[in-house]
């Protein structure tokens, strides 16, 4: 056990101080904000909170959030799998550059992620006049929300897959190819089973971010109630109208989504760990 190393010999005062400080920090930074959301939502009891979630605009926001995630997550899952396969199973010039470019959206402000699509498709954007002529709506409509969300969640799946597939190498795939398996079969029967937990965990994080994204969608949304308002945007509108119980009630739903994501991720890690343990 690694904990039985020198750290186990740490003076008791050091161990106790570190653990106490760490727990205190976690309570202040992570638990209190979470508790504040639920407390504020239930300030006047369950009824107003539940009413705020079931109200028509809130339901439209939930539907829109689900729709946007249902499109963007599969797009990035497919792109991420293709990228991970290309980058880890082959050598070609520019591989490292490609990895850097895939991770680029992580270092771009969400507001800029929305801005770039306004520059392209907005009324005064490069393609704006052409889109108007053909009556195609992208900005202030669902396609804009989807594009901004895809941009922001772009690297999640690729990023979880690439290090794992790099580590696993190519031997198994090459063996399958020597035995005459085709590319799709190799992927489905050899690669996929090896990376399925990591893939799921990447999809999970991608989905949490897609449903919770605020800055990028706020720029392209136009905030039309019932039409282009996702859940996080609905929270902001309610808050700015001083409807605090409603704002925190919808925020609680989003917080639950975050907690569920964490729980599922922890479970996946246990499953993946157990599988590796079995193999060893």
């Amino acid at each position: 056990m690694s904990a039985a190393g020198p750290a186990a010999a740490d003076p008791a005062w050091l161990r106790w101080t570190a653990v106490t400080l760490a727990l205190l920090l976690a309570v202040v930074i992570f638990l209190l904000p979470l508790a504040a959301v639920f407390t504020e939502a239930l300030r006047r009891g369950w009824e107003p909170a539940l009413a705020a979630i079931q109200e028509e605009d809130a339901r439209a926001a939930v539907r829109l959030t689900l729709l946007v995630a249902a499109i963007s997550v599969p797009v990035n899952a497919m792109g991420g799998v293709a990228a991970a396969w290309a980058v880890t199973k082959f050598d070609f010039p520019g591989r490292r550059l490609l990895i850097t470019l895939i991770e680029l959206p992580f270092s771009v402000s969400p507001v800029i992620s929305g801005l770039v699509y306004v520059l392209l498709f907005g009324a005064q954007g490069y393609l704006g006049p052409w889109l108007q002529e053909h009556d195609i709506e992208i900005i202030f409509a669902v396609p804009g929300l989807v594009l901004a969300t895809v941009f922001v969640t772009f690297p999640f799946v690729a990023r979880t897959l690439i290090p794992l597939m790099q580590e696993q190498g190519r031997d198994e795939e090459e063996a399958a190819a020597t035995l005459g398996a085709g590319g799709w079969d190799i992927f489905r029967r050899v690669t996929l089973p090896n990376v399925k937990w990591a893939l799921l965990s990447g999809v999970l994080l991608c989905n949490a971010r897609a449903m919770g994204e605020f800055g990028a969608v706020s720029v392209v949304s136009g905030h039309i109630r019932g039409q282009t308002n996702t859940m996080p945007l609905h929270v902001e509108i309610l808050y700015n109208e001083y409807m605090f119980v409603g704002a925190f009630a919808v925020a609680s739903l989003l917080a639950l989504l975050g907690l569920l994501t964490l729980l599922a991720k922890a479970l996946l890690e246990i499953l993946a760990g157990r599988r590796m343990g079995d193999a060893a």
Partner: protein, 289 residues
């Protein structure tokens, strides 16, 4: 363009592939990747790089030297650097405790560190505002004890950014700490070093490259952060207005070029900082090898 190339791989590349290894699918996967990357990321970012120049170099300079723009850039970069800096000791403490000690609640603590990754930013913003508002659970005691006001002040921006940046430091340091060979620590102890000396002289230097990585990731995320900041910041022009918010303001005035100009400046500045961190890290690695 890339998709077409992938569907009809040329004969030379096919021969090359067969010679080096037998794996199929380079064309399809690379083609998909390039199409995905190009359409979603590269072409839109190219628009960001081109648009500001519609103002001409002098017009762009004029926008960027507006006092309100300068103040917002100073706040965004200053607060993000400060938040990443604060996250370093806090993150090291969390990573150390979670990897080196066994205590009840360890797994929960480990899982909680990811909360800022999973919690939507608007929710985090709302929560921190409620917490640090003058009548909030933390805001009230802080005001009573020290007369500090956090919410609706620049300090609120830093608090929100620490929340955002902290997990990056923990998650960068943790794997290195777990894989650190214990021999060096044992050797130091055998040679008579106290435990604290060992930690300071042996463990911390070994963690420095990973800490820089975490600092850089946390900073990059914090500098562009929007959702968790705008609720707690108060958004007073010249005082507590962050640069991303100013981009939104310019967009609402339909001043696309100015918005793009501020965005481009932000991106270039943060890439310069990340590059500097990267070079520092490389020098550290070379020094040790």
């Amino acid at each position: 363009m890339s998709a077409g190339a992938s569907l009809t791989p040329g004969a030379p590349s096919l021969a090359l592939r067969r010679r080096r290894h037998a794996l199929p699918g380079l064309g399809v996967s690379l083609g998909l990747t390039l199409a995905w990357l190009g359409l979603i990321v590269l072409i839109p970012l190219a628009a960001l790089a081109i648009k500001p120049w519609e103002l001409g170099p002098s017009g762009l300079l004029e926008v960027l030297s507006e006092p309100r723009v300068l103040a917002s850039l100073r706040l965004s970069f200053g607060a993000a650097l400060l938040a990443a800096l604060v996250s370093v000791p806090l993150g090291l403490l969390l990573a150390w405790t979670v990897t080196r000690y066994r205590f009840p609640g360890r797994r929960l603590l480990d899982a909680l560190v990811d909360l800022p990754f999973a919690l939507p930013t608007a929710v985090a913003g709302l929560a921190l505002t409620a917490l640090f508002a003058p009548n909030g659970w933390l805001g009230a005691p802080l005001a009573a004890a020290f007369g500090w006001q956090v919410a609706f002040k620049p300090a609120g921006v830093v608090v929100a950014l620490v929340f955002v940046a902290l997990p990056f430091v923990v998650r960068s340091v943790e794997p290195v700490l777990r894989d650190l060979p214990l021999d060096a620590e044992e050797a130091a102890a055998t040679l008579g070093a106290t435990r604290l000396q060992t930690i300071r002289r042996v463990v911390l230097p070994a963690l420095l490259p990973a800490t820089i990585t975490g600092f850089g990731l946390g900073f990059a995320r914090a500098v562009g952060e929007y959702g968790s900041v705008i609720f707690i910041a108060g958004n007073m022009p010249m005082v507590s207005e962050i640069a991303p918010l100013l981009i939104v303001v310019k967009l609402e005035q339909f001043n696309y070029a100015a918005a793009a100009g501020i965005g481009l400046a932000m991106l270039l500045l943060s890439f310069a900082i990340l590059l500097a961190l990267n070079l520092w890290q490389r020098r550290l690695r070379r020094g040790r090898a």
